[in-house]
Structures are given as C-alpha cells and as structure tokens.
C-alpha cells in the first residue's frame, strides 16, 4: 500500500457489491487522512427498469413484479400498489383484509428492524448482536411462513383484498412469539441505552439537525430520530391503521444512536399493533371481486415502509396495462441526506453512518488509493477497512 502523506487526497469507493444488502450502490469518499471531506453516492448499479417493465405487463402481473422491487419490504410495495389500483377501480377492500395487510406489514417492519439491529452490531464489530437479533428474527420469519408460505415475497395481496386468511388456531402461538420478541427487544433497548462501547461508537455521530432533515426531505426512522414527526400510518392512514393504537416514535438526538433507538422502539409499537390485530380482527371476507379491467384514472398511495415513506403513483388509460407506474422508495429519498451526513466523519465511522439510514444498498470490497503525486494506484479491501475501524488502527 502507498504510504500516507499529509497532503494526499484519497478517493475510497465503497461499492457496488455486498452480500448483506439488497441493492448495489457505490460511495466515493474523498478523504484527507482519517476524515471524510465529502461523499459522492452512485446509485445506478441495481437498476432493473421495473417502472418500464411494468408498462409491458398487465396490472395483475405487476403485483408479482412490484413485489420484487425489494426483498425486505416486498409487502409494502404490493400493498401500496394494490391500494392505488383499487382506488382507480373504485372498490372497497373488506375490513378483515385490511387488518391482515396491516398485520403482515408490521411483521415485515419487525423483521426488517431486527435485521438492521443485527447488521448495526456487525458493522460495529459485535457479531454476537448480529447472531442474537437474527436468531430472534427467525420467530417472525416462521410466523410469516406459517401465514403466507414464504419468508419473503409473501404474495399475500391481490386486487380486492388478500389471498390467504389468518387462522385463529395460530393466534396463541403468535401471541407467545410476540411476548418473546417484546422481551428480547427490551433487552436490545437496554444494550442500546446502557452499553458503554455502543454509546461511544454511536452517540454524536453523524448528527442530522431537524432543520436539515426537513430541508433535505428525509424520511422514515432517519428523520424521526431528528424529531421530524412524519409517519404515513398516522398522517395518511391506510389499511387498518385508522383503527390501530400506536405512538409515532421520535427522538431529538439526531445521531446514529437515536436512529438505532427509534427503530428498536418502533419494534415495540409494531408488536403492540400486531397484538391488537389478533384481538380485534373482524370477521368476514378476505377479498372482494375486482373488475377485470382497470378503468381510466390515476391514484397515488403512500405507505410507511420500514425505511420510511414509500409512494406509488399509478395511471391507467383504461387498457390492460398501466400507462405509468412511478415508485419512489424511501431509501432513494434519503441519499441526499446520507451524502451530507458523511462529511467530516472518520473513515472508521463510514459503515455505521451509512447503515444508520438503513439503506437498500450493497458495497464492495474494493478500495482504491490514488496517489496523484506519484501516479500510483493501489487497492485494499473493505474488510481491511472495517478491521481498522474496529481496532482503531492507523492510516491506510
């Protein structure tokens, strides 16, 4: 590796592949010694042309396409899309189906947040936290598999309602699982709030002021951790959320710690809502018959996905295929924020700052050190960089 010189600017590309994430993205970090001066985010690697592909498929086929926008918030996408199409159709989804949609949505949020807590531990060098939280997460995956047949891509939604019902015989077991998960989440909250090494790595890191969060249109737990109270379940309620009791979790610290704390508290709120669904789900049909053709019209639906505000715009010109489907997923709304948060932080903190916005991204193992004075280019690895971060070793 090239030796460090005080005046050497280093561009470190993080990306575009990493097995832990769902999308490929690249960060180019311009660093001066240990400090990131600015960051550039390239989000193009995993673009699959889904909006274009959706224009070549029927509305019904698009449920299965749109479910695959994301693996970890697949239900968010199909619920949002189906709700938009149902609005154009002018049909009303039965109450029981709305409760089931919200139930699956909250299970999805719990497993997403538990996954994220584990990855946070991993990026800070504590694989034990990863193992604990991912093991606990298996309870949710087992529940989802019991209800839907799948651990991801549940294929629950269709136009007019849902495709599978909840079975009351499963409810006692589900309630035991929620009791277990509530206890475990309280343990994680204790670790987040009290563990000295965790506090040292996350308190005061990548502070996002409330004003900046608003100005840069941040969404989700990232913005709620900066005291911006925006949550589509509360301010634009859909599915069963008008009937469910929950708190919108916010915090005013605005740092990586606050983003972690908010997500853990949101798990407790999700468990609260899931219990309410099990106690209060109304009887009746799980779907109504939807018209074969989608009439001319448009609709916009907002959904609070685990990562934040998700929006689907659907336009039909009365044909078999949509005229336009526009999807803005929450992570796309947070990248401008992420580039700001990376300024002025240490290289060692880059993984946790990026993961704190809970991105759908991948990052690679390739890091290029460019010495413009000598005209040399050398490479190191992301794993080596992560080891440096954990061990507090010196410069590249």
């Amino acid at each position: 590796m090239a030796e460090k010189e005080n005046n050497k600017k280093i561009i470190i590309p993080f990306g575009p592949q990493h097995p832990a994430f769902k999308e490929s993205m690249r960060l180019d970090l311009c660093v001066d010694g240990e400090i990131v001066e600015y960051a550039d985010i390239i989000v193009s690697y995993n673009h699959r042309g889904i909006e274009k592909a959706a224009e070549q498929r029927t509305f019904l086929q698009n449920i299965y396409l749109i479910e695959r926008v994301c693996g970890i918030c697949s239900h968010s996408h199909t619920t949002c899309y189906c709700a938009a199409v149902e609005e154009i159709m002018g049909i009303e989804v039965p109450e029981r189906a709305q409760y089931i949609r919200s139930f699956i949505g909250e299970l999805e949020r719990i497993q997403s947040h538990l996954l994220w807590i584990g990855v946070t531990g991993h990026e800070l060098g504590w694989d034990t936290l990863l193992m604990y939280s991912w093991k606990d997460r298996e309870r949710i995956n087992d529940m989802l598999e019991r209800i839907t047949g799948n651990r991801i891509h549940y294929a629950m939604n269709t136009f007019g309602g849902v495709r599978r019902d909840l079975s009351p015989g499963d409810f006692p077991r589900f309630k035991e699982d929620f009791d277990f998960l509530e206890e475990r989440t309280k343990y994680y909250l204790h670790v987040i709030a009290e563990e000295e090494t965790f506090l040292k790595r996350t308190r005061g890191i990548a502070f996002l002021p409330t004003e900046m969060a608003r100005r840069l249109c941040a969404v989700g737990p990232t913005t709620r951790a900066s005291n911006v109270r925006i949550d589509a379940r509360a301010d634009d309620p859909y599915a069963a959320y008008p009937d469910l009791d929950f708190e919108v979790v916010t915090h005013d610290s605005g740092d990586v710690w606050a983003r972690t704390y908010v997500k853990a508290l949101e798990i407790l709120q999700s468990i609260r809502m899931c219990r309410q669904v099990l106690d209060e789900i109304p009887g009746g049909e799980i779907r109504v018959k939807a018209p074969l053709k989608v009439p001319e019209g448009e609709a916009i639906c907002r959904y609070e996905a685990p990562r934040g505000e998700l929006i689907h715009y659907v336009r039909s010109s009365g044909g078999t295929m949509p005229d336009r489907i526009k999807i803005r997923s929450p992570t796309f709304g947070n990248w401008v924020v992420a580039t700001e948060l990376l300024k002025g932080i240490c290289i060692a903190d880059v993984p946790i700052v990026v993961y704190a916005i809970d991105p759908c991204m991948s990052c690679s193992a390739r890091i290029t050190v460019t010495d413009s004075a000598r005209g040399t280019v050398t490479e190191t690895t992301f794993d080596a960089l992560r080891r440096r971060g954990r061990q507090g070793k010196g410069a590249v």
Binding site: V43, S44, Y45, H47, G49, E51, K52, A53, Q56, E87, R214, R215, L216, C217, A218, I230, D235, D236, I300, R302, E309, I311, Y313, R315, D323, R324, K326, R328, F332, G333, W335, V336, V337
Partner: protein
C-alpha cells in the same frame, strides 16, 4: 389540516389557479411551467418543506411531458401538475427551493431527457455507464428489446 382548508389556502395564494380535491388528503394544483417556481416558492413560504417525489409522464400522443411535483404538507399530498413540450423539454431546477428534490430531478433528466436548468448535479442517475447517452428509456418511443 382538512383538504378543503389547504385547497382554499392555495386558491387564496394564487388567484385563478385550478385546484381540485380527488379524495381526502389529496390535492391537485394545475399550473404552468412558467408559474411553477412562483407556485412552489409560495407553497414553501407557507410552510411546505417535503418533496415526496417528481413523477414524469410521456404524453407522446399530444407531444407533451407531464410533470407532477408531489409535496406532503399538513396531512395532504399536494400534486402540482405542469406540462412542457416534448420538443423542448426544459424546466428550471426546484432545488433552490427544495434541496431534497435533487435525486428526483436527476432521475427525470436521465430517464426522460428533461433538461433541468441549473441543476446542482447534472450527472446521470440509475442508468449504467454502458447505457448510451441521449437515449431515455422511460419515454414511450423507447422500445424494450
């Protein structure tokens, strides 16, 4: 705020502008490209800060691009709609008012070929480096092979 209140506020701010309420918590404002900045600046002055996204639609049969600027404010999604000619698809940036809209402007620039004037970061987004320049895949005349 109720949708009727928000719609009333917008009508008072911009006399003569078309405002409809398709359903609760959804408001549509019909504007023109030359008024867009005034409308958005006025909304920003009233307290709107959150741009949800910018939707672009290719109305090839009429030779127009339709742009929808979705803003979330006071529990209402305000959609400001404008149209620009397909032959001269130029629009000024709104990042001077809403800095968080940068990603969405880059997206419509790359995917539809809309030229966003004075955009702080004009680099193409979402498309791979090998994707040919000057080809805009979300336009209706782009054929998927």
């Amino acid at each position: 705020m109720m949708s009727e209140q928000v719609a009333g506020l917008i009508r008072d701010m911009f006399p003569g502008i078309g405002v409809t309420i398709p359903r609760e918590r959804r408001i549509t404002v019909y504007s023109t490209a030359d008024r867009l900045h005034d409308v958005l600046r006025g909304l920003h002055g009233a307290g709107v800060t959150h741009v949800t996204t910018i939707t672009c639609m290719d109305k090839i049969e009429r030779g127009m691009f339709e742009l929808l600027y979705h803003l979330w404010w006071e529990n209402n999604l305000i959609t400001v709609r404008i149209e620009i000619p397909r032959a001269i698809p130029v629009i000024p940036t709104i990042t001077t008012i809403f800095p968080g809209a940068l990603s969405y402007e880059r997206e419509i620039q790359g995917m539809f070929g809309i030229q966003v004037e004075n955009i702080p970061d004009p680099r193409r987004i979402l498309l791979s480096d090998e994707f040919p320049l000057g080809v805009y895949p979300l336009r209706k005349d782009y054929e998927v092979k």
